[in-house]
Point group: C2
Chain length 186, copies 2
Amino acid sequence: MQQQLRAHLEKIVALTDEEFDVVLAHVRERRYKKREFLIQEDQMVSDAYFVVSGLLKLVYTDDSGRQHILSFAMEDWWESDFRAFYTQTAATLSLQCVEDTAVFCLSLESYHALCADLPKLQRFFLQKATFGSIAAQQRIFSLLTTNIQERYDQLLQQYPALVQRLSKTMLASYLGVSRETLSRLS
Amino acid sequence: MQQQLRAHLEKIVALTDEEFDVVLAHVRERRYKKREFLIQEDQMVSDAYFVVSGLLKLVYTDDSGRQHILSFAMEDWWESDFRAFYTQTAATLSLQCVEDTAVFCLSLESYHALCADLPKLQRFFLQKATFGSIAAQQRIFSLLTTNIQERYDQLLQQYPALVQRLSKTMLASYLGVSRETLSRLS
DNA sequence: CGCGCGATTGAGTAATTTCAAATCTAGTGG
DNA sequence: CCACTAGATTTGAAATTACTCAATCGCGCG
């Protein structure tokens, strides 16, 4: 597991053994079972999570009980209710296991400590945030400009492995359509 | 103008006069007229822009000539086709003046230089990227979970000043509906 | 006064949702 | 090996929502 985190970090910044030890001192490993919650609505968000193995979904449940999936997180992705995490307020979203999942947890204090102590890590997070924000804008773009058929095709093309691991119901919820409509495509 | 940029930076990080001089050495001031383009589709993106005064729109024009507005940028906002800017590839979006606009331009080299020379600036950009990414996720959230009426109401509530400055046609394009549908609301 | 542009209104059409029913699938126990 | 069940998926049909295209309205400006 540690090797995987290190490889992930080193895709962006090279680290000495000592530096990586500092990182390890700030994260802790946890395992969750399918359907377990890492974050629940209305509760405080202690950590951001790095997914080592498994699959998570970030979900909003509206007043009428409908689920809206904002994103999935699979191996090598960071996920949390980042708004709640950074502002230390109650979560509006929940983060739940689609499969059994192993993660590294990083608290906000540890995040700040790492950024302060290791400028390299700050650069790493800057790059992650930058490309995270670009990816989010691509999703907005796709929601604004394409119909469901195209959106589904794009997803299939971009993340074929992910689509395999999801139920149609979850896919529909992610794409922003009813499962019946998704079922009627192509 | 310089004072405004400094105040903007100092909302997040305190700067000495010397540090701010370093920043000034890396940006240049420009003014554009209403309807002028800062970025055009298919061209290289030299800069990210800090809006001092005026109003910009970030637009995608699809094959059938329809305009989709991804975002607006008013005073104190940073804007660009960030995907194209960071990867130094051709723009897929265009950035155009809704009003006469004054900006500071920051090239990618200068951005990297500032991050390297002034750790504070890196912290500034990390925070901007972080909250930019959170804001983008809020927009995805709103596109997935709310109908047009609610989306319009939220926008009115959140940015009343912005709505004043936009035509209904642009608002509709930003909200992802036809102008006729927007016109029929409440 | 008349032109031009943005906004609104109307009517028909297309896409999507909703709710209900039918079908399929994987896992369980006899 | 087969029947049974629970859950997911698909299908059907009506209702709703939004879009399109065309016509009209309203207003500022020369």
